[in-house]
Amino acid sequence: MSAGKLARTRNGVPLPRASVPRLDVGELRRAVLDAASRGDRLVALFGVPCEPGRVELHAVLADDSEATLRVGTAVVDEAYPALTPECPQAHLFEREIAEQWSVVPEGHPWLKPVRFARPARSGRDPFGRKEGEAPVAGVMDYYRVEGNEVHEVAVGPVHAGVIEPGHFRFQCHGEQVFHLEISLGYQHRGVERALVGGPDKRSVHYAETLAGDTTIGHATAYCHVVEALGQTRVPARAQALRGVALELERLANHTGGLGALANDVAFQPTAASCGRLRGDFLNLTAAVCGNRFGRDLVRPGGLSSDVDEALVARMLERLDAAMRDVRDSVELLWDTASVQARFEATGIVSVDDAEPLGLVGVAARACGLERDVRRDHPSGVFRLAYIPVSVWQTGDVFARAYVRWLEVQRSAVFVRDLLESLPAGPTRVPAAALAPGSLCVALVEGWRGELAHVGLTDEAGRFAAYKVVDPSFHNWSGLAMALRGQDISDFPLCNKSFDLSYCGFDL
């Protein structure tokens, strides 16, 4: 029962940092492995600089069945025994710790850079680079399959479409992919580093552009951290409207994603209309705040704008009209044999891979894993209003598409209900200063999956550290698994079915 050594909290409930147990690294390791073996998910594992030259590891786990979070820390110097061999969902977190803090997770089977960023602490380079040698994006040891007729295909960072940069390296035998390795970091802008010392006037703008297509989701998670640490009580009307905005973001991105999947199998009717309809949902958000992506809407203490009855009526009318057209266009996908032939049994991720890798969001639910922060760790309006979890079992492109369609329908109903029963009152209160020496974890179910923000304050109530985990951080590994044994020509389709963020990963 070593998991019992960890502090317990809930989504959006702050803890004094002094109450978070500082364990010996062996104890922390055992506690995390114990919790993970009981089904906890590793939400975040990250380093924070502490007393001269050392690093304090923080582990945050989620027990979805009990709506509980567990937190523990341990201080390390240059190395510690890696968790990854026994807990694969730690693999990227431990690479990140090595890259940022020059701490080696010993025994890590796949220790490579994550973002090709300079370390924030001097020490032995975990990747064997010479002292003072700057990291170069994409330059690392790639996994390589040797043998006759085995060939390698390298794609990116600049891709053919209008899309963010990333590098993909395939080990192929003919058309068949043996292995795909994904190397990112091209979008690294230093967001987490810049959030330290805040909150300041740029902080919320960083949150809004962490992943620009998830402006509402990330800004909401950021505001939850700030509001919890300041004990700011957000008015009910603002919480309801944040829920509307979050689900509109899901509607826009899922609709656009279904259209893009149709495009990738050359099914133009759905591709053409969903490309347009995505914009109809974005324009609903713009009707509220003036910006299609919801910039300037979610602010600490509530929202920067309100809606009146006339606007709500117009929004409901436009929502219904858009949903009629979306239904008409998306349902064609399920009735068209040529589409189904490409979607079904393509890019399968088994639940036996999805669970240990810690997949979240649509990618997890499409493998039959019932994970949804809105139900499991509800915050804001989701504590009062229920939205069913959408699940499919097959783990293929079809499942990822179909889960998105289920969510589109449920989100539309949810938005309609919320708009029809908006609580009265203000939409914003002043946000109070942050409590010193505290820690808060905020989880929000963004359209891709779980957004995790962890804020730690110093003695002056400024951010001593700020950790962001975009769902893409977990889910890129799912895409790599989906490509195993697949034809390389299915890559664009598989990639689109995950629809992951590059900058959300690169930060």
Binding site: A137, V158, V162, F293
Partner: protein, 257 residues
Amino acid sequence: MFRILENRLRQGHRTVAYPDAPPELPARFRGLPVLDATRCEDGCRACEEACPTGAIRAPAGELAIDLGRCLFCSDCVQACPQGALAHSRDHRLATRTRDALSLRAGHSLELARALDGELHRLLGRSLKLRQVSAGGCNGCESDVNVLSTIVFDLGRFGVQMVASPRHADGLLITGPVTENMHLALRKTYDAVPEPRIVIAVGACAISGGPYLGHPEVHGGAAAVVPVDLFVPGCPPHPYTILDGLLRLLGKLGRGAP
């Protein structure tokens, strides 16, 4: 098959009438800022202090905003006690030079003029662009992508996004140009045959945007390659990007919507 045709009929023709008709913008759209320095109280620098990117200068008797840094948020508007700043619904923001983006109270914005002589002859009727995201958050990228949907139908203006720089007449760059994309951007630019143009879309690509001053980024496209068109916004509305492209190609005259 029958259902597909039915769907097609129901969906109908959806391309916007722009530029023959004015663009349809949301009532709360934040476009070109309107500055009124006469309202400023002496010594008040509330807008300057509120601006997240240092886009505003408000020394005594003056008020100026750098649209290349502006995120078109409402932080300055909310901070100003005198109502000296407001956003109009004017979506036209693109300029040919970085300096032209410095908007001073009492002055109007010098919108982008068309390409000159030979470049206009070569590219005015057919412009192929390669898009490079160099640290963009997928906001600008998404609203560039939208131009190729049936709603805006960029192809009708002779503009097309192409898959390779070798097929392109120029680059459309988004993002603050991260250190990690610096080399790739340079190589992509070098791969575009001459003569070539560069279009910087969004606050990040013009100045670094919210990432201005970060050691991880280069502060915009112009730090790496010469830029011919600047399109402000965070992200710019698709109409703002389209307006810039059409002005560059000489397809919008004075008094255009």
